[in-house]
């Protein structure tokens, strides 16, 4: 039954956006996790989304596409180095390395993810209401 696929689609959107919210939370929580080693410092993580096409089935199934997270990509940009010899984590030259997390970017990403999540919830609610109405088709009470 193709009508129930809409729940899978909206559900996949919600889970993908919640992975995105999780990475944003992780990035923001670790924004100040400095390290004395530029190779082990925390790097900003972002999910990679990919559409999963409905396949070869006929009708609108062919056009329907859920979304999946294929992986978490780390920001390859170099961590910012800061001269802070009083920090116990500082290396021999007195430098600490801060994560390459851009807080402003993360906040914008968070709002975008939460709006998209709300969109999918709205789709789910509307589809559920319409389907329940359809179940009541032809009944005297409707």
């Amino acid at each position: 039954m193709s009508s129930f696929k809409i729940f899978d689609i909206a559900g996949s959107g919600m889970s993908a956006q919640s992975v995105r919210l999780n990475t944003v939370a992780s990035n923001l929580a670790n924004a100040d996790s400095v390290s004395g080693d530029p190779n082990s410092v925390y790097r900003a993580k972002h999910p990679v989304f990919q559409a999963v096409l409905g396949g070869t089935s006929a009708g609108a199934d062919a056009a329907s596409a859920s979304v999946t997270v294929t992986g978490i990509a780390e920001n390859p940009a170099a961590p910012a180095s800061r001269y802070d010899p009083s920090n116990p984590l500082a290396d021999a030259q007195g430098y600490v390395y801060a994560p390459n997390v851009n807080i402003v970017e993360e906040m914008a990403d968070m709002i975008s993810a939460s709006r998209s999540y709300q969109n999918n919830v709205e789709v789910l609610n509307t589809a559920r209401d319409l389907m329940l109405d359809t179940l009541k088709l032809g009944q005297s009470g409707s």
Partner: protein, 156 residues
């Protein structure tokens, strides 16, 4: 062939199926609003409904016949053009379930995004809202028709 109930309910049964399929396509667009290289799609509703109407009309006179140039060509109803008229019992009837597949079109983006995504969130939201209102309107039509039928059938 259409049943009596199909004829009574008319275009609304096909419209309801197509609206459900369009809802699915729009939900896909909204789920993939942040997917790189995803291309938004929509159903050309008028074309899809006309196609569904033609398919379910079967042998109705409104359907245009397919031109045949050879005795083995298929006609629109699935029979071989050269076959005897009495042989139609084994013919394939066109699928009565409407399908939006042939009427699917890609959206032309107003402002293309750098990641190749063509989903316009606001446009999809309004299309989804419009489609759900249409769905409810079709449901109301069907409900009224069924209630009228029940009234006519009841003896009181």
């Amino acid at each position: 062939m259409q049943s009596v109930l199909d004829q009574y309910l008319g275009i609304h049964t096909r419209a309801l199926t197509l609206e459900a399929q369009r809802m699915q396509v729009l939900a896909s667009n909204l789920a993939n609003v942040d997917t790189p290289n995803y291309k938004a799609q929509d159903v050309d509703f008028k074309a899809a409904l006309a196609a569904a109407d033609n398919a379910s009309a079967g042998s109705a006179p409104t359907q245009l016949p397919l031109a045949t140039t050879h005795a083995n060509d298929l006609t629109a109803s699935g029979t071989v053009a050269g076959a005897a008229a009495g042989d139609s019992a084994g013919s394939l009837s066109a699928s009565a379930l409407p399908s939006a597949e042939s009427a699917l079109k890609y959206r032309v983006p107003l402002a293309p995004a750098l990641d190749g995504n063509t989903v316009d969130e606001q446009l999809e939201q309004s299309a989804f809202a419009e489609n759900s209102v249409r769905y409810q309107a079709t449901l109301a039509f069907l409900n009224t028709k069924l209630r009228l039928l029940m009234n006519a059938l009841s003896s009181s």
